[in-house]
Symmetry: C2
Subunit: 334 residues, 2 copies
Amino acid sequence: MSDVARAAGVHQATASRALNPSTSDLISTATVRRVQAAAEELGYTPNTAARSLRTNQSYTVGVLLPDLTNPLFPPIVRGIEEVLTEQGYTALLANTDNDEKREAAQFAALLGRQVDGFILATGLRDHPLVERAQAEGRQLVLVNRGTDVPRFPVVSGDDASGIGAAVDHLVALGHRKLAHLAGPHRMSTGVIRLRGFRSAVGRHGLAAADTTVAECSGYTVAAGEAAMRAVLDSAPEVTAVLAGNDLIAVGALHVLREHGLSCPEDVSLIGFNDMRFVDELSPPLTTVRVPHAELGREAARLLLRRLDEPELVTSVVLPTELVVRESTAPPRVG
Amino acid sequence: MSDVARAAGVHQATASRALNPSTSDLISTATVRRVQAAAEELGYTPNTAARSLRTNQSYTVGVLLPDLTNPLFPPIVRGIEEVLTEQGYTALLANTDNDEKREAAQFAALLGRQVDGFILATGLRDHPLVERAQAEGRQLVLVNRGTDVPRFPVVSGDDASGIGAAVDHLVALGHRKLAHLAGPHRMSTGVIRLRGFRSAVGRHGLAAADTTVAECSGYTVAAGEAAMRAVLDSAPEVTAVLAGNDLIAVGALHVLREHGLSCPEDVSLIGFNDMRFVDELSPPLTTVRVPHAELGREAARLLLRRLDEPELVTSVVLPTELVVRESTAPPRVG
DNA sequence: AAGCTCTATGCAATCGATTGCATTCCCACT
DNA sequence: AGTGGGAATGCAATCGATTGCATAGAGCTT
């Protein structure tokens, strides 16, 4: 602000340099102090628009996610927002509802706002946006759900080992007939967790006939209900169910109850994500905890780092952890 | 963009006017079409920074809330975001953790980003920010939690009548000894709901001795536990509990269970908000539904309207609704 | 046909900060 | 004392869109 410069008795350019930490070493410390004092005095706040216009940077990142209302996302967004504001950035939020059109529109809107980068938390397996971001010269990191394209940085939980731990737990309890209510195959997490399930049961030497897999049409309670029904129909002998996520597990619980089966006595059940309040269900749900807030934080950190070193491609995998509660127990004898 | 102007064979100013709906009637329709075609062709996206710089508007609003992780807020934010993007605006999110310092810092950051207005979802009863926003000439609307100052537009649910319906329900079931686990008095919802409770029990002619009130230190499960314990100590005769919100109700449920009391047989329990998943508790919680997404939408609409007519002060009260599930039943006879 | 009006468009200043280059001034070195 | 070098600061262009004012035509009136 030129007022500040005038008040401090210097040229506007000097004021600008004095106020900017990365250029303030060009200016004598005495002047810097004078300028800062004047800025303070006048209650100066820099005009971000002007800065963006000149520097072509907005200190803003776009966060695209399917639906904030899905309990999975708030902690992620929270984590993102935390490290972003710490660094003087802010997050622009956009919900896509997993709708390609909305997604493209939101993406364009964010582009118009000159976001410096994107964090994508949407789940489709291969993603046109990823390419477009690159074409537009914008950085992008994926969180929680990856693409199959390995050229892009992804921050995710170690789903495979989480599923592995869950299967280990069930097998250790004595279960042999397992079912997996898989997430949709069009989402990366769906296939990754399924793969994890397959490899884990293989490790325990379970036969293919011992395991049933039903694909859910989405990560929703209703889809979980449908899948659980399908499993009960086709493989009534299963004693343990591993759900693709907690929402699916809730659906499964409904159907078990509806069929007069009790959990964990008749059927053990494990969820995924450790969503808020799954410990309040009855029975409290055994599930795989994913450190969502930390996922968000890492994603933001990674994006910020890439803003400096664009070529850097790193992916971060955060450990997951099995949280044993009361929805798992040894199978009934006999 | 001057490229567009060149491509359409017109002056940049003409292009600008043609592309802007509010000025495009100054330009012949033929030219408008030509310019739009050129813009389309070149994939032109306006530079928001330049526009903001010139117009001193950012088409951006700041949303301040305590903690996105609180299940209350995602639907509100979702609603806000919905109508904002519809109108070409976007939301900047900031979490304050109910900490005055963080809140002030976030507010300043948002100001620096030239937000056109603020939506405040933070709960403290009187709020320095409200004044400051006005001083800075920024519009502001409060959502869900009001101030005592009536000069500011507030969008909220009709808490009093929700509480009233809850009390009616309990009394109709035959309950006479009621307790209210009130939200903190420093939050407006805390006092409003308490007031609602008082007036409702008065309406039913219940004596002061019939009702117990315990103030919770916050809208949290832990605070609910503490308050419920206090009530069981001081007034073990209560047969029905009205919680200040669902989180408090969850805490109450814990303590009831811990004391070997069953819900609803021994004690009926009603929550507030109809948070996601309270229907999955056992028992599924009877609660007062507040239309949070609609609250958010209304808040955004109201803010947008005030951006046009700054003097307009309207507050919106949305109806609430009692959702009866299985945590309420007639009191035990005797 | 001259003059007037009105519409469509061009011109150029402007918003506020950043930054390459030029300039000034001081000091040290020989 | 003169010169070279560096540190500190000033100068002015620049980012891209908006907008008040000026201007060029076209059409109408008398």
